[in-house]
Symmetry: C2
Subunit: 387 residues, 2 copies
């Protein structure tokens, strides 16, 4: 597969911004105040691993007209200048007395107004990347109302562009190939931790930029949980080895898992694996424009329940995917999100079939006008075996 | 070097908690409310890469007496049960109607009280990992006052235990060895991106768990910034290649850089490199118990200024280090933090000596009763050369 061009054109960012501004107007916002890395990158293209340092806040303001404005520490200015953003305002940071607040306030207050409201990352599935005390100080002194902009921001980011989907597709293919090659590289008796190290290195070699998420869990016939690990446990005959990964290419995640039979597994485990493979098929087929996330959930839940599920501590059967490992919506009864073209979704049926024995499958798809399009290479119907 | 035991004993967590409770009492807090991964892990030992998913908030409450209480989504319960935490309260998440808030509120309200105040991650160098709207809702309904607990939390985390220092030392040694081996693995004409890929893989092979931070930047005689990259630029004769890394072992970071001469560099670059090497020596020597961060800054700044610095967009000359890439304090004029035994610090002198030509050095040290102890392998006084 051809490596997608890194980054995005100014034309794409202009299109993203224009679409966002329409959605903002509908939500009654004159501007969005962004602090979180994926939101900053979505509108500016600015990429940094420096987000690991919590010392300095960074701000991007999306006005109701025109291009976004960056209000950032001096340390970030040379790199921000390489993006399509022209209006870059900086302060000497860190500065405990005023870490950008007065500059941010004057920037927001100088913008054209219609609604008198600014949307901030205050809501669900988002965290504000600045001290809350300073946010509240800004909120108390700003001449506009700072309100929950998260539903608006998610409405913007939930529908992807073609180039975003190409990025996700690429990282899905890299991880698919690495998952497929794994049984030839590991053996019974190796530790979960060593297996993860090998897979991480292989995924890096194949062209991923990073692997922020790779839990690996093993257990006889299934696992107790799917989000923590690896541990030092050695894989044994009869285990299911579960590995999930959120690896990235140019800022975009894949998020899907694979299951392996270590030697021979029980007939029960095989039966549940088969049911989940079919549930995945049903979930994929249900993810069409015009359906709701509830429908996708129902398509999978019917099969899972018939297969004898006694629980599922994950709380949903898949979700949105993009610049973050998980994004709205959720395939969950009551979520009620309308599925539209160019959403990228995970299809993630799972079930506990006996206490402490859970199996979970997962694939990634893009929703097209003609229906779902698989971005991952579909997991084999029969469990691959590790010898 | 021997690999440190992963994780920490219950005795260590009890000691951390008892010390924290003394500091909390001094700050006037009956409890701490924690949501951010490093804070949760510091008190519980709970490790997960699932923090990449912003969907579900997680809470840990440190009361004024007794062990911390985990208030977490069901998905995390099996793994939390493996830690020393006994009181684990869960809810079925995601649940947009009540994502743990009522459970958290009743948990906090049932605790013993003296001051009527709870410390939350509201202040500097911290971000709250939960929706601010829900935090404000809790704040409005809680029968105690929710206030800025960040200075208290940083006072707790800023002084490390012996085992924490052993973790940081180990990852510093791994990265030191990889940096030292790099010139034999790369050549003039390779791209920054390929160089980073090789170094990431080598660091993983040597035993690091992850490398969340590895900017690499190259430029003739120096670089314009030190926090973003790699790019596709090919390294050329006359360049300084700058690489920094925050890699981790069992939840602890190193954070230090190395500079390489690509072929031959200018005499100016060599002169500045030598000045920074001496400034690092001075910074290390100044980091003794009883000194202030301002003193460490001054020891380096004097040498840097004498060498003809025209600027430094980093804004400080080093900082704390631990479960995060950067932590308080800052070596900065006016920071005023008293340096005490068992702090772990970076010593990071840097200067721009001509427009767009910056060179930055960095080492990691632990402060002992007898003075500074180097955790990294000291950078060579002469620039290593890439041919």
């Amino acid at each position: 597969m051809k490596i997608p061009q890194r980054g995005f054109t100014a034309a794409e960012f202009e299109k993203r911004t224009a679409r966002a501004q329409k959605i903002m107007d509908r939500h009654g916002f004159d501007a969005l105040l962004l602090t979180a890395p994926p939101n900053v990158r979505y509108f500016t293209g600015f990429d940094s691993q420096f987000w690991e340092s919590p010392t300095r806040p960074w701000f991007v303001v999306v006005p109701r007209e025109g291009a976004p404005i960056a209000v950032i520490p001096e340390i970030g200015a040379p790199e921000m200048a390489l993006t399509w953003i022209k209006d870059i305002r900086t302060w000497a940071a860190p500065n405990p007395e005023d870490d950008g607040l007065s500059l941010l306030k004057s920037t927001i207050e100088s913008l054209p107004r219609k609604h008198g409201k600014v949307g901030a990352e205050m809501g669900r599935e988002m965290a504000l990347r600045m001290p809350v005390a300073e946010f509240l100080q800004l909120r108390g002194s700003l001449g506009l109302s700072l309100e929950n902009g998260s539903p608006c921001i998610w409405e913007i980011r939930m529908v992807k562009t073609e180039t975003e989907i190409a990025h996700i597709h690429y990282i899905c293919q890299i991880a698919s190939d690495a998952y497929e090659a794994l049984p030839s590289q590991i053996s019974i008796g190796e530790s979960e931790r060593e297996i993860v190290r090998k897979l991480r290195i292989d995924i890096a070699r194949r062209g991923a930029d990073s692997t922020p998420f790779m839990p690996a869990i093993s257990g006889p016939g299934g696992v107790a949980q799917i989000v923590c690990g690896p541990h030092d446990r050695l894989i044994e005959k009869g285990d299911i080895l579960f590995i999930d990964t959120g690896s990235t290419f140019d800022g975009y995640f894949c998020d899907f898992d694979r299951n392996y039979a270590v030697g021979q597994v029980s007939d029960d485990a095989k039966r549940v694996h088969e049911a989940l493979w079919l549930a995945t098929e049903a979930g994929i087929a249900a993810a069409v424009p015009g359906a709701k996330t509830d429908d996708v959930w129902r398509a999978m839940a019917t099969i899972i329940e018939a297969a004898g599920a006694i629980g599922n501590n994950v709380g949903r059967l898949g979700h949105g995917l993009g610049m973050q490992l998980t994004e709205p919506p959720s395939h969950r009864l009551g979520d009620g999100t309308l599925i539209v073209e160019n959403m990228v979704l995970t299809i993630e049926p799972g079930m506990e079939y006996a206490p402490g024995k859970m199996i979970v499958h997962e694939e990634n798809i893009a929703v097209t006008r003609d229906g779902p399009r698989l971005l991952t290479k579909r997991a084999p119907r029969e469990l691959p075996v590790i010898c």
